[in-house]
């Protein structure tokens, strides 16, 4: 595929994600590498939130650990002026470029690799390396956080009672994959 792409200048180089398509189950956990997505790192002061929310078609959350979704698009609160916007279909960078209010939108689609961790053992799997309280009370569906897993930084989003999305930087994806596999094995099938 890559070789074919090399012969033409405009035919489009082949996209090759880290760990593409890897998936496996243990008794209580299902791990999968998620398909590519559009992502932006969005930074903006409070005064720009309304305009950006309108352009993005969702209300940018302003509370810690909160996320907001609309269709295939999710905005994760990572800090007082920072969001990670993940989009399965649209182009959030283009949406933001229409906003005149003060902000910084930087494309980071390829920076991250995403995993889904689901099943009855999902919470325990993540708690093997994430020190946060991941109970439904403290970390309900839709909660998100930039946190750690073992020795690396991740962004964690709870997508269901028994389901999480884990985002890490591309070159840490081997580590995160191996960690999750080992941790999942200790969740008691």
């Amino acid at each position: 595929m890559a070789k074919a792409a090399a012969k033409v200048s405009s035919g489009g180089a082949a996209r090759k994600s880290a760990l593409a398509g890897r998936e496996f189950h243990t008794g209580a956990v299902r791990l999968a590498v998620l398909p590519p997505a559009e992502r932006i790192s969005l930074r903006a002061p409070a005064g720009s939130v309304a305009a950006l929310s309108k352009a993005l078609g969702l209300d940018l959350p302003t509370k810690p650990k909160a996320s907001a979704s609309n269709g295939g698009r999710t905005a994760l609160w990572l800090g007082p002026d920072e969001w990670l916007v993940i989009d399965q279909t649209g182009d959030p960078l283009a949406n933001c470029s229409e906003v005149k209010d003060l902000h910084s939108a930087v494309g980071v689609s390829h920076r991250n690799v995403a995993f889904s961790v689901s099943g009855a053992g999902a919470e325990a799997t993540l708690n093997a390396g994430c020190p946060q309280d991941l109970s439904l009370e403290a970390f309900p569906v839709g909660a998100c956080s930039r946190t750690i897993l073992g020795k690396v930084e991740i962004v964690l989003l709870r997508t269901g009672e028994d389901a999480f999305r884990v985002e890490c930087w591309r070159s840490f994806s081997d580590y995160v994959h191996d960690f999750l596999v080992e941790a999942a094995a200790d969740t008691g099938g």
Partner: protein, 997 residues
């Protein structure tokens, strides 16, 4: 196989469920549910090891975690050999193989026991005194001998094949200790619905109810009640029960470390299961229900096998159905030992008599013992015992002296009272207080949100314990947010209360004589040692501890600390609180390295980072080097090439045609906002305001002290957007430093930083053919010299995907860096590679990159600089904006010592013999004929063979280097002195014509 000391009908184990095991190769059988200790005792085996210093025969003292003596090696297979396992904690499994320790050639006959006779040589402090002379002998003789003789057990000599898990957990109420107190607290808290974790080091919850058979709770037998409570708790979703789990450390903000032993008790562990699991728990409230530990009596030869704690004998009888002897003596200053005698007597064991140091013992236990016909000798002491490998007699004397008599026994149960287990409370930074009435240290002032209940709080008696624990559990739940309370009160119908205690040595400890009355069994510390320490000038208990090693063994003085303290206080003539208590430190019991390491071993020891282009490099035979966590292609050897040949070829090919280099690991930061240029002006020495969009500049970043911190090429994509690159190693710290300054010093600037290091794969295409290779693949970018001069950046497409195309050079030849979104990195590389092949290009690695940049005198921050080099020292002060009023480090640069002559400056070096390649790090001198040590005036920072130049090249930091051009200096090496000439830093194409070549 028979178990002659197992009593039919006694205990809670099932007689049909046998388990075979070996001890020192000899075959035995025990029952499922036994510990190794109880199984050995069932077979009449008391002798389990030899002591640390004197190699004295030792037996089983306790029935729990406090065991100082019965330490054995457990050997599952060649790689799974665990030394110093407490036989009292190790659960029996079928096929268990245990070996005794610290003996040679055998446990019964140990050559090392000669130390016992030579003991005057090994008295307290002997390490400090004996090996002082002759000094030279320390390294060659004493240290190796001591190292060989010291230590207990044999460390495994193969990698640990087991794996270890770790888990973080949160709860409202963490209850540590699962005896009656812990269970009552857990029940009270759990019924309110809050999350409760209950941990206990034993295999089964129940604590002292294991042996206190008279107890009745809620109308049930105490043990049965405990198991009912466990079943109730286990059925609740909000409760996590952790048996076989020891809380070993209590840290800040109710953060508690616990290790769970998952498979050590199993005959055939699931190989996927971890051996241990480390729990790191954050709790809103902690309930400490850690109980108390019984102390032994201190008298001559009190370490003989068969001499043990009274409560232990009771546990062996009432839980395991094992009697520790046939003719049992009891020596006590406490009521609890009476119950041991009572239970044994009722089980048909002959009691040779109770010896009580107290003058008028009374109460229900004493009455019951007497009623059973047990002889009670009050106001008397056991002054010595007979027997060597097993106790055979006790000598009873009036405590104030007078005629004694000797009674035959085969076991002696002792108790001098109970020491509250305040270890975790003390670790929580709580302050202990001495209770004068009961001679106990108890929890005093709390430092964290925790509460102590039951025996560890000095609460005596089952009824008071359960009542206190229940209230505390309910309160802890309430304080951590519980709203509803429905727990049923627990009613204690019958329970024991134990009075009486003594500290220190009894009459049999023989003040001033040569007898060995042990305080600390594991470290072989006697009463005499403590007295000697005081006589030799130790005043603080911390000094006494270190001088005698009392309490410093793996049991951390659980049975010995209070005795040692009391004897020291008595000798000093001071009250106990004035002498003080030694600090309790984590861990409470030994923790395996495996448990601490957890998942972080093998490939999870540290992340291995690979670029998007890594698979291509791997496929094309690259040799990789580690650069921080990254794997980087070092060079690409062809068949028959060594590193030298490959690097030479790569260097020549780049300059003659072109080369492709994976520069993806470079740090990249996107700086965005209306104040982006202002921010760049403040963070870098260079001017940025006037840099046009589409142009690049080499930037230098300083620390406040004026020294170079990082460098890199920065492209201005738009008036409000910069694409900053950093060194590979500096990526994270540069981002942190920028963010730090932005938030603390320049918060008024409207600018934001985003790490894009991993968003972009970077392919450097360098060499005269570089443009010819790239151009056919690019759309929307005019790559002519006029439209895209050196140091410019364009956005467009390559191979149909977005690119940020930099024209820049780290080789001195015409060059580009192609940035593409990382997932396209490999495909675009392939395309460039295919084009490159048409022009004779090669792939090159980090080594050639280093050589090529050194040929041009381009510095590498961190290699040619070391944190003490200024821009002027490195001859890059041209990159300082001369008109700038402010940037980080501007003030540091004016420090007098940074302007004074005599600084080390970066220069080039050429060896007189062009074939000699200097060693990096080699020192430089002006006069090679000086005496050693010579005055060193600098060192080599970079050195390579340059195939392009036809001679070796080097960069060096040399005192006043810039004014030395043309001078001859010397590099003394072990085998020769190398003559070098100081030159400029540029060895190749000094006019820089090749940038457009």
């Amino acid at each position: 196989m028979t178990q002659p000391f197992r009593i039919a009908g006694a205990g809670r184990l099932t007689p049909a469920k046998t388990a075979r095991f070996t001890f020192d190769g000899k075959h035995f059988s025990g029952l499922a549910g036994d510990t190794l200790a109880s199984a050995l005792l069932a077979n009449g085996v008391h002798l389990t090891g030899r002591s640390f210093k004197y190699h004295r025969p030792r037996g089983i003292l306790s029935a729990g975690a406090e065991e100082p003596n019965a330490l054995v090696g457990i050997e599952r297979d060649a790689a799974r050999k665990t030394p110093n396992v407490r036989a009292t904690v190790q659960e029996l499994y079928d096929g268990l193989a245990a070996v005794s320790q610290n003996r040679w050639p055998s446990l019964n006959f140990d050559v090392g026991a000669v130390n016992d006779f030579a003991s005057p040589l090994f008295s307290a402090g002997f390490y400090y005194k004996t090996f002082m002379w002759p000094k030279a002998a320390w390294k060659s003789f004493y240290e190796p001998k001591i190292r060989a003789a010291a230590g207990l057990g044999v460390a495994p000599d193969q990698p640990d094949p087991d794996h270890y898990a770790s888990r973080f957990a949160h709860c409202e109420v963490l209850v540590l200790g699962g005896g009656a107190a812990g269970l009552a607290a857990a029940l009270a808290a759990a019924e309110s619905g809050v999350r409760v974790i209950l941990a206990d080091e034993q295999a089964e919850f129940g604590g002292a109810l294991r042996y206190e058979v008279g107890a009745k709770v809620d109308g049930m037998d105490g043990w049965a009640w405990a198991q009912g409570a466990v079943a109730k708790l286990a059925a609740m979703d909000n409760v996590r029960l952790l048996p076989r789990t020891t809380a070993f450390g209590y840290y800040a903000q109710n953060f508690v470390g616990l290790t769970e032993r998952v498979t050590d008790h199993l005959a055939r562990p699931d190989r996927h299961a971890p051996r241990e699991r480390l729990w790191q728990v954050r709790a809103r409230r902690v309930v400490l229900a850690t109980g108390a530990i019984e102390r032994h009596m201190v008298f001559a030869d009190n370490d003989r096998p068969g001499v043990m704690l009274a409560s232990a004998a009771r546990a062996y009888l009432n839980h395991y159905g094992v009697t520790v002897g046939r003719q049992v003596g009891v020596y006590t200053a406490n009521d609890s030992a009476y119950y041991a005698a009572i239970d044994l007597k009722k089980a048909g064991v002959s009691i040779a008599g109770i010896v009580d140091l107290r003058d008028n013992p009374g109460g229900p236990a004493v009455d019951e013992a007497r009623a059973l016909g047990i002889e009670v000798n009050h106001g008397r002491a056991v002054t010595k015992v007979g027997g060597k490998l097993r106790v055979s007699s006790m000598t009873i004397e009036p405590k104030n002296g007078g005629g004694g008599r000797t009674v035959a026994i085969d076991a002696l149960l002792t108790s001098s009272g109970w020491t509250p287990s305040i270890h975790l409370f003390s670790q929580s930074r709580g302050k202990v207080a001495f209770d004068e009435a009961t001679k106990r240290f108890l929890p005093g002032t709390y430092a964290q949100e925790c509460v102590s209940v039951g025996a560890c709080n000095g609460t005596d008696g089952l009824e008071a314990t359960v009542a206190e624990a229940f209230v505390a559990g309910e309160k802890a739940a309430k304080e951590s947010g519980a709203k509803r309370f429905k727990a049923q009160k627990i009613k204690v119908d019958a329970g024991e209360t134990w009075a009486g205690s003594m500290l220190g040595s009894g009459p049999g400890a023989g003040a001033g004589t040569t007898v060995k009355a042990f305080i600390d069994f594991q470290n072989d510390v006697t009463a005499k040692d403590i007295r000697q320490a005081v006589h030799e000038g130790m005043r603080s208990i911390e000094h006494v501890k270190r001088f005698t090693t009392n309490g410093m063994a793996t049991d951390q003085g659980k049975t010995s600390n209070m005795h040692g303290l009391a004897i020291a206080a008595e000798t000093l003539g001071k009250p106990i609180p004035e002498v003080g208590l030694t600090t309790f430190r984590a861990p409470y019991t030994p923790v395996t390295f495996g448990s601490i390491v957890g998942h972080a071993k093998g490939k999870l020891f540290d992340p291995t980072r690979r670029t998007a282009i890594h698979p291509w490099a791997e496929k094309h035979g690259a040799v990789f080097e580690d650069v921080g966590q990254w794997k980087r292609a070092w060079y690409f050897p062809r068949a028959g090439e060594d590193m030298h040949a490959a690097v030479n070829r790569e260097c020549v090919t780049v300059r003659q045609a072109a080369g492709l280099f994976d520069a993806s690991t470079l740090g990249k930061i996107e700086v965005v906002g209306p104040d982006a240029a202002k921010f760049m002006e403040l963070l870098y020495t260079n001017p940025w305001e006037k840099l046009d969009a589409g142009r690049c500049r080499y930037g230098i970043m300083l620390r406040e002290d004026g020294f170079i911190y990082d460098d890199g090429v920065v492209g201005r994509l738009a008036p409000d957007r910069f694409h900053v690159t950093t060194t590979t190693g500096g990526a994270a710290r540069v981002m942190n430093m920028m963010e730090d300054y932005l938030q603390t010093e320049f918060p008024h600037l409207n600018v934001w930083l985003t790490s894009i290091s991993e968003q972009w794969a970077v392919i450097a295409v360098q060499g005269p053919k570089s443009r010819d290779i790239i151009a056919p693949l690019v759309e929307g970018i005019d790559m002519s010299d006029e439209a895209m001069p050196h140091m410019s950046v364009r956005e467009g497409k390559i191979c149909g995907v977005p690119t940020r195309l930099f024209r820049m050079s780290f080789t001195g030849d015409r060059g580009f860096e192609v940035n593409v979104p990382a997932d396209y990195g490999e495909a675009v590389w392939e395309a460039l590679w295919a084009e490159g092949r048409k022009h004779g290009a090669c792939a090159y690695g980090t080594e050639a990159m280093h050589v090529l940049r050194a040929e041009k005198g381009y510095i590498i921050v961190g290699q040619d600089t070391d944190g003490t080099v200024t821009p002027a020292d490195a001859s890059v002060d041209w990159a300082i904006g001369k008109k700038k009023k402010d940037f980080v480090g501007i003030r540091g640069l004016t420090r007098p010592d940074l302007l004074a002559p005599g600084r080390k400056q970066l220069v080039g070096l050429k060896t007189r013999d062009p074939k000699i390649v200097l060693e990096e790090g080699a020192q430089i001198v002006a006069d090679p004929k000086q005496k050693v040590p010579m005055t060193m005036i600098g060192h080599v920072t970079s050195s390579y063979w340059s195939e392009n130049c036809g001679h070796s090249i080097a960069l060096a930091l040399v005192v006043d280097g810039k004014s030395r051009h043309g001078e001859t200096l010397y590099v003394p090496m072990p085998d020769r002195t190398i003559e070098v000439e100081v030159t400029g830093m540029v060895f190749y194409d000094p006019k820089g014509e090749r940038l457009n070549g």
